[in-house]
Amino acid sequence: MTFSDYLFLFGGMGLVTYLPRALPLLYLAHKQLPQWLIDWLSLIPVAVLSALLAPSLFADVTDAADRSFSLGKPEFIVAIPTLIFALKTLSLGGTVLVGMFLYWLANFFY
């Protein structure tokens, strides 16, 4: 592919990536939001975080088409002490480092 092929492809991808990020914010930031929408949106962060995280802990992917449930992934085993550490300390940096260390240790058992 030539330079202009890449520019066209990535320009197009950039546009369809940017618009979903920009349009809701540009529109909603200058509107008086109804209370129900504020209540609903305030539950979005916890829902998104949980939805991003849970499948990576509980689902095994052997190939793109084959997903199966699992309670034995190292990601999940390590997540338990990491979660307890986060609950006890409320330290973001500490949790990241503890999680990394435990995951690194877990590699020797898997």
Binding site: T17, P20, R21, L25, W40, T82, T95, V96, M100
Partner: protein, 238 residues
């Protein structure tokens, strides 16, 4: 343009320092992911400058991985762009939720800010906004630090990625660890815990049953809606 709109600009060194303090887990997590994207891109025959161009113009990790895989498989440009749109639609949710904290901010700022809304920067900034002590400039620093590291990591991956050992120091777990802790920060009351549990349950079921990435938007919307309905019922029954 009225320049006086932004006179409340805080001191720059504070901004950078506090932005970096909030952003470093993202940056750490982006390094292994960016490197492996670079390696895959290089194996698929993409030159390093095209990876730089992609990370600047697109800045969306999962879509970039899919793009490289589709290019390697010989997909058409239209198919790749359409897939990117589908994968990134989830950001409409995050962009909407950010509007609560960025209400009334001028459109020029929002135009720049929107570029850097990713799963990770969203999670970090929302947590900081919720705790107070945060403003849009610090949030912008988080976005752009994460973006800079991402660009550097992906380009470095195309050049030297194959020499970096896999899984060094458990760095692959950095983003998971960050998400776990940010989730804990969000659990400020029974309704949040309940919504989080619902989202976990629904997302896993959705992920197992439906191919693709729709589980993120699907489970988030379902769980937030159920949580909202339960909250309303609880309030009206009091």
């Amino acid at each position: 343009m009225n320049q006086n709109n932004d006179t409340n600009l805080p001191k720059q060194s504070d901004l950078l320092q506090q932005g970096a303090a909030a952003a470093w887990p993202i940056c750490l997590g982006y390094i292994p992911i960016g490197l492996s994207l670079g390696v895959l891109a290089q194996q698929a025959g993409l030159p390093w400058w095209s990876v730089a161009m992609m990370s600047v113009l697109v800045f969306a990790g999962s879509a970039q991985f899919i793009c490289v895989a589709m290019l390697a498989a010989g997909s058409s440009i239209a198919a790749i762009i359409f897939t990117t749109l589908i994968v990134n639609l989830r950001h409409t949710l995050m962009s909407s939720a950010l509007a609560i904290y960025l209400a009334g901010v001028n459109r020029k700022f929002l135009t720049v800010f929107s570029y850097g809304i990713t799963d990770e920067s969203f999670a970090v900034n929302m947590t900081q906004f919720k705790n107070g002590q945060w403003d849009r400039w610090r949030a912008l620093v988080v976005n752009h630090l994460a973006n800079s590291v991402w660009i550097l990591a992906t380009v470095t991956g195309t050049l030297v990625g194959q020499f970096v050992p896999q899984g060094a120091f458990g760095i692959d777990y950095a983003l998971t660890g960050m998400f776990i802790c940010l989730l804990v920060f969000q659990l400020q009351g029974r309704i949040y815990i309940l919504t989080g549990l619902l989202a976990a349950l629904i997302s896993v079921a959705w992920y197992l049953l439906i191919p693709g990435d729709s589980y993120i938007v699907g489970a988030s919307v379902c769980a937030a809606t159920l949580g909202y309905l339960m909250q309303r019922r609880y309030r009206s029954s009091k």
